[in-house]
Amino acid sequence: MTNMLRARSFTSPRLRLRGALILATILAATISARATEIPPAERRSDYEFLGPQTRAMQDDDTANPGMLGVLDGEALWNRRDGEANKSCADCHNDARASMKGVAARYPAYSPTLGRPIDLEARINQCRTEQQKATPLKFESKELLGLTAYIALQSRGMPIDVAADERTQPFIVAGRELFNRRQGQINMSCAQCHDDNWGRKLAGAPVPQGHPNGYPVYRLEWQSLGSLQRRLRNCMSGMRAEPYPYGAPENVDLELYLMSRAKGLKMEAPAVRP
C-alpha cells in the first residue's frame, strides 16, 4: 500500500498532494485525540477514585492526619514573628472570615512579580514584606501547616482561578507543559490524566489529577505535602528532571491544573494514598 502510494506519487504531483493531505488529516486526528481535555461534565475529584478506608479518613476530621497540620497552621497564624513583630492575624484578623475562598483562587497573578504566584509563595511574600521575617522553607512543617490552615477555609467552595489576559499566557504555558512528552520514558502528564484516567496503573486507579485538595496528607509520604512536591514526584516517576521548588514551570503547571479543575470543590487537607 505504501509502496503503491509512493510509486503513484512519483508519477503525479496531484496525487502526491492528495497523499500528503490524507497523511496530514490522519496526523491531526491522532494529535487532537491525544490532547483532548476532559469535558467539564466528566471532571471528578481524585477523592472519587479513593478506596472506602481512605475516604473515611478524609471525611472525619479527627481521623484525617492533615488536620494536625491545620492545628500547627492555626497556632502560627496567631504567633507574632519577624522584625515587625506582627502575626498574620494582626493584619488579616480571623482567618475563618478573611481567608474564605482565597485558596480556591490561587495561583493568582502578582502585579509586582508580573507572573502568577502560588499560595505558598504568597505566604512567604507576606512574611518577608509585612512581618520582615525569613521566608519559610518549601515543605517545612510550618509552611505546610499555614497553607493547610488557609486552604481549609475554602473547603467546599468551587475552584475559581482567574483566566484573564494577564494569566492566560501562563495557563497556556502550563497546558503546553502538561501535554509535552518528557523524560526517559517519553511520557506526558496528559497521557495518564487526560487519556487514561479511571484505568489502572500497577493496580491503583489513575485519577484525573485535580489539585483541589492541596496540601494533601499522602499516606505514602506519611506527611502533608504541597502540589509542587506532587508534581516533582510525578516528574521523577516519568524519569524526567523535576523542576526545582518555586520554579516558574511548576507554578504554570499549578495554575493550568487549577483552571482545568475549575468548579470542583476544594477539599484541603485531603487524604491521598
Binding site: A63, D72, K141
Partner: protein, 107 residues
C-alpha cells in the same frame, strides 16, 4: 512545637452504651532502621505506650512498635458507665509524653 493530638470522645452516652474513642497524634514514628543522607542510621524515635483511663481506672493500653506509621491513629471501644473524664496518655522515646482528656456525660 508541642505534640498535636486530635481526639474524638462522644460528649454524651446512655449508661451501658458501647462507645468508640478515636485518637490521632502527631509523631514521626522514626523506625530506627532508616539510613540518613550521611550513611548513618537515624535513631529510633517512636511512641512506645498508649494508655487510656476512665475516671482514673485503666480501660485500654497499647504497646507501639517501629512498624506503626507516622501520626498513629488508634480507636477502641469501651462501655459508658458513669459521668466523668476519659484521659489519654502517650509515652515514647526521648522522653516523649503527651496527654489529652475529654469529659463524658452518662445519662
Amino acid at each position: 512545637m508541642t505534640a498535636r493530638a486530635l481526639i474524638n470522645v462522644p460528649a454524651k452516652a446512655r449508661r451501658g452504651e458501647i462507645i468508640e474513642i478515636k485518637t490521632l497524634i502527631a509523631h514521626p514514628m522514626e523506625t530506627g532502621f532508616r539510613v540518613g543522607l550521611n550513611g548513618a542510621l537515624i535513631a529510633r524515635d517512636i511512641i512506645t505506650t498508649f494508655r487510656a483511663t476512665y475516671n482514673g481506672e485503666e480501660i485500654f493500653r497499647a504497646d507501639f512498635s517501629p512498624a506503626i506509621a507516622a501520626n498513629p491513629f488508634l480507636t477502641f471501644f469501651t462501655v459508658a458507665t458513669e459521668t466523668g473524664t476519659i484521659e489519654l496518655h502517650w509515652e515514647g522515646d526521648n522522653g516523649f509524653a503527651a496527654a489529652e482528656s475529654a469529659p463524658i456525660t452518662v445519662e
